[in-house]
């Protein structure tokens, strides 16, 4: 055993181990650095590329053109349709998940018995463990047909690929954030605040909306931001069920393509290194990275404002 070594050698071992553990900590920084490098290097090449019109024209086109067709002969590079698809799906998922999650979280933290909560919460968290491609399958082959049949009752037609179906499925998928994490925020509000309200004669519902929710608002907001960030970055559900063509539309019943869907589509094809198509996925990717980073940092900010009672 190394313990048999003399004290001076043992102490030098302390330094060796310290260095090793520290360097692994540094490795995590290197990873971020490499991610940024990967994105920046090839995104820059994209914007400098002649097919994009060279810098700064390419950047202007990126934000102003209304079509995204880097793989076609006529190369349009407006990211708007992809942004549209990405945000539309995230919006639909939020529309479903936020109210639903709020009510579930309120129920679990204010009304449910200990046993009920212990039973339900792990299932909510398990939703995060389900492979997203499975959710994609479900969206395409179960939810879409059901919706189609339902909408046809009203004479509305919906295509096989659309934004509504993945949006709904994503809404359930982000419940670990909008329900479970929000519930954690509610649980963090101390009992004495609730008791003060009850003592004044308020019932649980009023207390929840007027005392608990406002007290937990930073944590709740952080949870929502992380959930939306997750929805924005989601890949497989949309790759399977949303569509393969960028489409600037506000109609959720039409096929659309998200940033992530585009990256998958191109990656599945032949990708010669440094070709314009290859570079385009990095341009799309860096945009996605920046947007989700923004949401994540905002979430961190709000998390820091959570009052430690």
């Amino acid at each position: 055993m190394l313990s048999r070594l003399p004290l001076s050698v043992k102490k030098r071992l302390d330094t060796v181990f310290h260095l090793f553990f520290f360097s692994m900590g540094l490795v995590t920084i290197v990873v971020t650095f490499l991610i940024v490098l990967a994105l920046v290097l090839d995104a820059v090449k994209f914007f400098l590329h002649e097919e994009a019109g060279g810098f700064p024209k390419s950047l202007i086109r990126f934000f102003t053109e209304t079509q995204w067709t880097p793989t076609f002969y006529d190369k349009q590079i407006g990211i708007l349709p992809l942004i549209n698809g990405t945000f539309m799906i995230a919006f639909i998922s939020g529309l479903i998940s936020i109210p639903m999650g709020l009510l579930i979280a309120a129920y679990l933290s204010e009304f449910a018995s200990f046993k009920t909560r212990e039973f339900i919460k792990p299932w909510l968290d398990f939703m995060e463990a389900v492979p997203t491609v499975v959710y994609g399958y479900f969206a395409l082959l179960v939810v879409t047909p059901v919706l189609q049949r339902f909408l046809s009752l009203f004479g509305i037609e919906m295509e096989g690929m659309n934004a509504l179906s993945p949006g709904i499925v994503l809404g359930f998928m982000i419940l670990p954030f909008t329900a479970s994490m929000v519930e954690d925020a509610f649980k963090g509000v101390p009992a004495y605040l609730r008791e003060a309200s009850y003592a004044l004669g308020a019932n649980k519902v009023t207390t929840f909306f007027r005392v608990v929710l406002p007290a937990a608002k930073s944590g709740v907001l952080a949870a929502y931001l992380l959930g939306i960030s997750r929805a924005l970055g989601e890949t497989m559900v949309v790759a399977v069920a949303a569509g393969m063509y960028p489409n600037l539309t506000l109609n959720p019943l039409e096929p659309i393509q998200t940033i992530t869907g585009y990256i998958v589509q191109v990656a599945l094809g032949d990708l010669p290194f440094n070709s314009f198509e290859y570079l385009s996925i990095f341009a799309a990717g860096i945009f996605l990275f920046i947007v989700t980073l923004f949401f994540n940092l905002l979430a961190v900010y709000f998390k820091s404002k959570v009052k430690g009672y």
Partner: protein, 254 residues
């Protein structure tokens, strides 16, 4: 004539800018039990933990002064002295029993192992010796491989004592060792401490004055970080020099 094993000279401890221990000086006589008493927050545990360099584990705590260990006369709390070397010679028993989640045998053997002792027979003998010396042997001799947490609180504390004495420390520090125990276990450990002083030197912090009166040879009374009085226990408890000491002893404040 009593030999001084550990001589405290003007020991001060600072938590940041706040001085918790103010220039304490008193001798710790060899093979005697020295008790440190005083009301909560007077700094007695802080003082104790300087002596085996526990404070080195935490930032923002600084200390000055000298704690001279005989026979070499080295200053234990000198920054240049390796804390490891100090802890190899000064042992500690903590307030709440804190055995390792290992077997009873391994708990006692651990200190020996890190001193490089690996010989199975030697370990067995020394573990047995330590458990006998802490009056635990008969109760555990048939279940040395059991997890230490299967023991009662009082037994766990005796296990911690066995662990500490297995490595034959020159000074053994006790930090309120019975405050978390029932009266019967407390009594047993008090007797044990008196027996242990034959082999080592004991410094014990206690918030229980009667305990100090029962088992110690000398007592130091601290108040708000200062040493108010130090002397033979009998004198401190019957005819103290300082009024403050008298007030504390008679329970006028606590």
């Amino acid at each position: 004539m009593n030999n001084i094993k550990l001589d405290l000279r003007k020991v001060s401890v600072f938590y940041g800018k706040n001085q918790a221990v103010k220039e304490i000086s008193f001798p710790v006589y060899e093979n005697k039990v020295i008790a440190i008493i005083g009301p909560s927050g007077c700094g007695k545990t802080t003082l104790l933990r300087v002596l085996n360099r526990m404070h080195d584990l935490y930032p923002d705590i600084t200390y000055t002064g000298e704690a001279i260990l005989s026979p070499e006369g080295i200053n234990l709390i000198d920054k240049k002295v390796d804390p490891l070397k100090v802890r190899m010679r000064i042992g500690m028993v903590f307030q709440k029993p804190n055995p390792f989640p290992k077997s009873i045998f391994e708990n006692v053997a651990y200190g020996l192992r890190i001193r490089g002792i690996n010989n199975k027979t030697e370990l067995k003998d020394r573990v047995e010796e330590a458990l006998k010396a802490s009056w635990l042997w008969d109760e555990v001799k048939d279940r040395l491989q059991d997890n230490a947490y299967s023991l009662s609180g009082g037994q766990q504390q005796r296990l911690c004592i066995a662990r500490a004495i297995a490595v034959e420390p020159e000074v053994l520090l006790f930090d309120e060792p019975t405050s978390a125990l029932d009266p019967i276990s407390t009594a047993k450990i008090e007797e044990l401490i008196v027996e242990l002083k034959k082999k080592t030197t004991i410094l014990i912090v206690t918030h229980n004055m009667q305990q100090a009166a029962r088992i110690s040879d000398y007592t130091a009374f601290m108040y708000l970080g200062e040493l108010i009085e130090f002397g033979p226990t009998e004198k401190i408890f019957t005819k103290p020099d300082q009024k403050l000491t008298e007030d504390y002893i008679t329970g006028r404040f606590g």
